[in-house]
């Protein structure tokens, strides 16, 4: 199929009139009709019901309409973006990152965008899955990296990029630091620190503890990741972190024998026109081999 066919179909879907659709597309009616017939041949069924003076979409036509609209818009935007590349206009990109998502694997992507898009401006926003989803829907963000732990609104397209493994973080003198791998059971009676009680990390930990019948002695809470790590370094307890997060000095990572993971999900609003930078970012992120990218990211040695 080609964009011309789709453009003709979209015009016909809007006007429900072959004559008016042909005029709008600046072609003869026979040319438009033939093009629609070819599209129907390819799609595998009639897209329109032609009944005397009345034209309407078939059930197949109605089901294909949003898809073809999206394809047409995506191709048109791709053309605009490529043209924009030549004109060197500004390329803003506002991305939300949930606290639990590691940033490091995304650096090569941002670097590529900065290298290839003149006027690239990156704006990173911190937040929870719910808050970032909301900001996306209301136009405050272009894309978001979420944990996908909770269900996302239907209006968001989502792509799972990779699975992030969790590790325990502790000071070197912590009793659990002697072993390379720690089991969940060993956390019984320990002091754990989380960033937010309703965050994906806290929920993941709570679920794991519950499954193993483990109860920490104390639960502290930090407002930011930095505050949590400061508390850990000061000996207040241990925390859970992405294996890919670079830690400040004076802290160790220990693997968990029971694998705790969550997905790292890219989200964007379906059908919304993207900026050039957003389009390039989403394509780079979706095309990328994340498993190795995540594995090759320099994490602090255990």
């Amino acid at each position: 199929m080609d964009l011309t066919q789709i453009r003709y179909f979209l015009s016909l879907a809007r006007t429900l009139n072959f004559t008016r659709a042909a005029e709008a597309c600046h072609v003869t009616q026979p040319a438009l009709t033939k093009s629609i017939q070819r599209l129907e041949e390819e799609i595998g069924g009639p897209l329109l019901l032609r009944e005397r003076a009345l034209t309407q979409l078939t059930a197949l036509g109605q089901s294909m309409l949003p898809l073809l609209e999206q394809i047409y818009l995506a191709a048109e935007r791709a053309k605009e973006h490529a043209a924009g590349l030549k004109r060197q206009i500004a390329s803003p990109l506002r991305i939300g990152f949930t606290a639990e998502a590691p940033m490091a694997p995304f650096m090569p992507v941002f670097a590529e965008l900065a290298a290839k898009l003149a006027g690239f401006e990156l704006c990173l926003v911190d937040g929870s899955d719910a808050g970032l989803s909301d900001a996306l829907l209301h136009g405050g963000l272009d894309a978001a990296i979420l944990t996908g732990a909770a269900s996302l609104p239907d209006r968001l397209n989502r792509w799972t990029l990779f699975t992030d493994a969790k590790v325990l973080v502790m000071p070197p003198d912590h009793p659990l630091a002697t072993a390379e791998t720690v089991s969940i059971a060993a956390l019984d009676g320990a002091t754990v620190i989380c960033r937010a009680p309703d965050g994906a990390m806290a929920k993941l930990l709570a679920l794991a503890l519950q499954e193993h019948g483990v109860c920490p002695a104390t639960r502290h809470q930090g407002g930011t990741t930095s505050q949590v790590l400061d508390l850990v370094r000061a000996g207040f307890g241990i925390t859970l972190s992405s294996a890919l997060v670079a830690l400040p000095g004076g802290l160790l990572k220990r693997k968990l024998s029971e694998h705790l993971t969550h997905d790292v999900v890219l989200a964007a609003v379906a059908g919304r026109p993207f900026t050039r930078a957003t389009d390039a970012f989403i394509k780079l992120a979706r095309a990328r081999e994340w498993a190795n990218a995540a594995g090759e990211t320099e994490a602090c040695p255990l």
């Binding site: 199929m1 080609d2 053309k79 490529a82 992507v109 979706r286």
Partner: protein, 218 residues
Amino acid sequence: MALAERLADLREARFKGRVRIAYEQFVSMLDRAEVAAHALPPGAPIPDFLLPSAEGRLLSTAGLLASGPLVITFFRGDWCPFCMLTLAALEEILPEIHAAGGTLVAMTPETGGRALRAKRGHGLHFEVLSDVDNTVAMQFGVVVNPPGSYRALLSEAGIDLADRHGNPDGFIPLPATYLVDREGVVRHAWIDLDVTRRVEPATILDALRFLSSADGGR
């Protein structure tokens, strides 16, 4: 052995019974829909695009054309043995393509690192781009909607196009190859409806050499 013979051998081995019937129905549908006649023709400018390479770099039309004429070949993915056999044949003539001043680029709608897997797994040394959501193939007019019978075959073989493409469309590109001059104009379009019958690499090379000599080595 010519590509045609290698493809014929593979076809003989793989396409039997209802697989052959479903595939032939697919090709017949494409023929009836005259898709080849409506793909981007010689004389037309190719679209401006910006796509991720297998290694995660952004490559543009202008950037690729800066080196000279471009050979763009569309392929479905490393799940398609016919596509990979064709790419292997193009890899064999890659030194000659370069000697003739050309650049070879392959495009696939596959995402999630599959372009890289196809490139490394098959020892390819040319750029393999992820045409995410087939946006560029659409602008070339080489995107097709496989019929239900063919989609069912793919599904039975464990080929999940929705997962591979990151969208539920299930559209795939025609096995098309284009020769584009330095100005970004199509000089040859080989639109093969049947993935088991592709243009011979020697034909592409001849056309490239002719184009390069006509350009006077500019």
